[in-house]
């Protein structure tokens, strides 16, 4: 709210820009978080005197103390970082000046701005990228350990305790990472550029959503020291009620994550709804923007359900509540319903933006307009609409409302129609294109292969009697890896390779990219085709050892998994190396027509020196007639980004830094 007030409330700059924020960064956040965590822990242990009755009635003092400590850490970290400075300044009426806003946007702070509560959407996008890659690396390492344990039928490599914990931690890490892997880095960095905006609608909330995730990480991984998450990522009750302290980490991490997602979803949605460039009608809005908005828009109502489920679990564990305890009137099906009310939309939260990114880049590398833009938009909307009505297909075998199984089968199978629409759009775009097989384009092809398999196996599982046979087996594991990894992560890697030149100013190493691509894709298919095999043969999910009849398939899976692991390491090396030493990227290396490629490298703080006006959509490839040039340009037009010749790829500002701070630029600059 302060941005508006700035222009009318000029204040004497008696203090340097930024105020108290000058002194706050990630370091103070960590210190403050740790201090408050200790204080909280001490207060909790001394105030919550163990009532003799508690042990009998199920109140677990340890759980209370742990939950309080984790909450204190998160609050302390955010406070130390300066996340709450904005709201309090608003209440006190001490609005940010223009200089304050520029400081918040990270003006002239070099690399330091990546370690502050920085509001510039490009900084937040990069932070999201690093965070996502860190989480994927952690989850991937756990996957390697899991597959190593399963290399023979009874390897005893980890033991059941560690194995079960790793399965849960791997699952949760990966789900959280994949939820943010497209809408985080690319939704924040690329979408505002793509729609011709100077920043997000709410830059401070943008930083808030990112740093909440950073605060979440220690909470999540504290599980490793508190007995793990031996419940799988689904955390089904009442197993989670009786679980060790790691389950407190689980539920607190999810609560923090859900808040972050709601804030981020609201922010991105508002940005797209209200900040598109002049002339960017819905018909001219790139399909990737639709994908991102569909994803985050779906998350807004979905994740609070998840949060509720975990809040209730926290009450059960900390205060001895009975939401999921059958003997006191609770009901495990309640958890399953709340969980899957989020859990199925979440699948599309992951997959939709990834596929939309692939659609976007397919037009570029096929040099063709998107095949049937309307079909693409309607498919996305159709999936969004149907996805909230299918949750109980995860519960066909649960015994809950078996009479409704038929109707949930109906809605689930209906989703295959709009999903087929997505395939139509991509296949139609490829048809007679001039295919340029770069790494991003190869990701599209990989997705066409993987997602067909993931989709068809999904139809098997939507068929109720088949689901009775396959539910809970490795078949399900393989199926959702084919969708979330085969389509989702592949799409995210394609998006990374596609936007890498814009985000880092460097080209991603081609050779290493292809090496990684083939290792990952071949390894992936080997791993999960092997897993389909053992699943159909009857191996349950999440087992630490298995009947020796499944040995062959499991060995194949493990070998494939190692190939993925090596391939991912190659990709990681390629990204880090290219980021530091890669070839400098030209402004528009792919010849794409969306707005983000019209800004120079490195991107100036306020993105556009002159606001773009959009006169047609981004898919005007292969036009036979000359381009329309209406409307007539203003006198002395300044071509966007014309002054830059490649630029330096370093993380420094462009030559026109002084023009504006991003958060404030919409209102403030004209007065300077």
């Amino acid at each position: 709210m302060s941005t508006v007030d700035t222009a009318e409330a000029p204040r004497v700059a008696e203090s340097p820009a930024g105020g108290v924020m000058r002194w706050l960064n990630m370091g103070t956040g960590i210190v403050c978080g740790i201090v408050l965590a200790f204080v909280g822990h001490w207060l909790a242990t001394s105030l919550i005197t163990a009532n003799p009755d508690d042990a009998v009635s199920g109140v677990n003092v340890t759980n209370q103390v742990q939950i309080v400590t984790m909450a204190c850490w998160a609050i302390g970290f955010m406070a130390g970082l300066g996340a709450f400075v904005g709201p309090f300044r608003w209440v006190l009426g001490r609005d940010n000046t223009h200089a304050d806003e520029s400081f918040l946007a990270g003006k002239d702070q070099g690399v330091w701005r990546y370690f502050r509560f920085t509001t510039d959407h490009k900084v937040v996008g990069i932070q999201y990228l690093v965070l996502t890659m860190t989480m994927l690396a952690a989850g991937g390492t756990m996957a390697m350990l899991i597959r190593t344990n399963l290399i023979t039928s009874n390897s005893g490599f980890l033991g059941p305790q560690t194995y079960n914990s790793l399965v849960g931690l791997h699952g949760l890490t990966m789900i959280l990472a994949t939820i943010i892997m497209v809408t985080g880095p690319f939704g924040n960095f690329i979408v505002p550029l793509m729609i011709g905006a100077r920043d997000m609608a709410f830059p401070r909330l943008n930083a808030l959503s990112l740093w909440l995730l950073v605060a979440m990480l220690p909470v999540l991984y504290s599980a490793a020291f508190l007995g793990g998450i031996p419940t799988g990522w689904t955390g089904y009750t009442p197993l989670a009620d009786q679980g060790p302290g790691g389950v407190n980490s689980y539920l607190m991490a999810i609560i923090i994550f859900a808040i972050s997602t709601a804030v981020s979803g609201m922010n991105i949605t508002t940005t797209v709804l209200s900040m598109r460039a002049r002339g960017m009608t819905w018909n001219r809005t790139p399909i990737f923007v639709y994908g991102v908005v569909a994803s985050v828009g779906l998350a807004i109502p979905a994740f609070p359900m998840f949060m509720t489920a975990e809040v209730l679990l926290g009450v059960d564990r900390g205060l001895g509540g009975n939401f999921y305890v059958a003997s006191a009137g609770g009901q495990p099906w309640l958890y399953q319903n709340l969980f899957w009310l989020m859990g199925h939309p979440e699948v599309y939260v992951i997959v939709l933006p990834a596929i939309a990114a692939l659609m976007e880049l397919t037009t570029v590398f096929a040099r063709k307009p998107l095949f049937s833009f309307n079909a693409a938009v309607l498919s996305i909307l159709g999936i969004v609409g149907l996805s909230v009505m299918v949750w109980a297909h995860h519960m066909f075998t649960s015994g809950w409302a078996t009479a409704l199984n038929g109707s949930f089968m109906l809605t689930t199978e209906l989703i295959s129609v709009p999903t087929g629409g997505l395939f139509l759009v991509i296949v139609g775009t490829i048809w007679r294109g001039r295919i340029w097989t770069t790494l991003p384009m190869m990701s599209t092809y990989a997705m066409l292969w993987n997602f067909i398999i993931g989709g068809v196996t999904g139809i098997y599982l939507s068929d109720v009697p088949l689901d009775y046979a396959l539910q809970g087996s490795m078949f399900v594991t393989a199926h959702f890896h084919y969708t979330l990894m085969g389509a989702g992560l592949t799409g995210a890697i394609g998006a990374l390779a596609y936007w890498f030149p814009k985000m880092t100013g460097r080209m991603l190493d081609k050779t290493l990219g292809f090496v990684s691509f083939w290792m990952v894709q071949i390894g992936f298919n080997v791993t999960f085709l092997g897993m389909f095999m053992v699943g159909m043969e009857g191996q349950p999910r999440r087992v630490e050892h298995y009947n020796s009849a499944f040995a062959t398939g499991n060995f194949i899976s493990t070998m494939g998994a190692y190939a993925i692991g090596v391939g991912m390491l190659v990709l990681l090396y390629a990204v880090v190396d290219s980021w530091r030493n890669g070839e400098r990227a030209p402004m528009n290396p792919w010849g794409a027509k969306t707005l983000e490629w019209t800004v120079p490298n490195p991107i100036p703080l306020e993105n556009f020196h002159v606001m773009p006006v959009v006169t047609e959509d981004a898919y005007g490839y292969g036009r036979l007639e000359p381009r329309p040039t209406a409307p007539e340009p203003a006198p002395e037009p300044v071509p966007v980004g014309a002054y830059v010749d490649g630029g330096s790829g370093d993380l420094v500002e462009g030559p026109d830094d002084e023009i504006a701070g991003s958060g404030d630029s919409r209102t403030g600059t004209a007065t300077t």
Binding site: P230, Q242, A326, S327, T397, L448, Y460, V464, E537, R623
Partner: protein, 266 residues
């Protein structure tokens, strides 16, 4: 295809080179996938120890066959485009773009219509199969009297063992499942602690064991032999060990087994 005309391309869409070649590729891939669908799933799903499993394997095969042309079409276009339309070398700004096709109404209509029809087909198939799964006693080999009077087995899961109780047979209680062949059986499943999932693998039946609730599933074992009962829902430390044997025996053997295991104190 009026939108996609370029100089020198005046042929009808079906006479175009790429149409014909993709069609051939599609046909070949479809045939290969159908062959795959008819052989591999059944082999992997293993023996059919109940009429439920027979239906499961049949449905699996039918769905695979139905999906084959769809998958083949997508893959055929993808493969073809990589061979025929792939650019040699990198793109440069002076290169020609692809044709400005912004859609094709008949193609979209055909695709949506086709996928909707397929969807309807699998839906009807699924609903019919669901009907059978809910009342599995339509096996011609079962005498009507037996179908009306199924064997009831009370299944209780607890960490990490299964217990089976036969209320109609003097309350026999065991940790291995014994079933007479060709007699309908109804499992009443519950749990003493956390959620488990009762799964007789070769019979294709599964239902969760919930604390405080009784869920049911039913089938008709149709094949003598020794099968696997597993837990399909993560239930704690020794989840992987929560498995036992299911013996399908003749009616006479079953009666003998019941007599031998009856609780002695009447």
């Amino acid at each position: 295809m009026a939108t996609s005309l370029q100089p020198g391309e005046r042929t009808h869409w079906w006479a175009r080179r790429e149409t014909r070649e993709v069609f051939v590729l599609w046909a070949v891939l479809t045939v290969l996938l159908v062959i795959f669908s008819l052989t591999v799933p059944n082999a992997l799903l293993g023996v059919q120890a109940s009429n439920t499993m027979t239906a499961v394997e049949r449905t699996f095969t039918i769905l695979s066959v139905a999906a084959s042309p769809v998958a083949a079409l997508v893959w055929a276009v993808a493969l073809y485009s990589l061979v025929r339309w792939r650019r040699k070398g990198d793109w440069s700004p002076t290169d020609d773009d692809g044709p400005p096709m912004r859609g094709n109404r008949p193609a979209v209509a055909l695709w949506i219509g086709g996928s909707s029809a397929l969807c309807l087909f699998i839906l009807i198939l699924g609903l019919a199969a669901l009907q059978v799964a809910a009342s599995p006693n339509q096996n011609p080999r079962i005498a009507p009297a037996q179908a009306r009077n199924p064997l009831v087995v009370e299944v209780t899961g607890e960490q990490w063992v299964w217990t089976f109780r036969y209320p109609g047979n003097g309350g026999v209680e065991t940790d291995q499942l014994y079933l007479p062949v060709n007699r309908a059986v109804v499992f009443k499943v519950t749990s003493d602690d956390v959620v488990h999932s009762f799964w007789v693998v070769e019979m294709g039946i599964k239902v969760d064991a919930n604390p405080g609730e009784i869920t049911t599933t039913q089938t008709v074992p149709t094949r003598l032999g020794l099968y696997n009962v597993r837990c399909a829902e993560l239930c704690g430390l020794l989840h992987a060990d929560m498995e036992t044997a299911a013996h399908v025996v003749t009616a006479r053997q079953f009666a003998a087994w019941v007599n031998a295991n009856k609780p002695s104190a009447g």
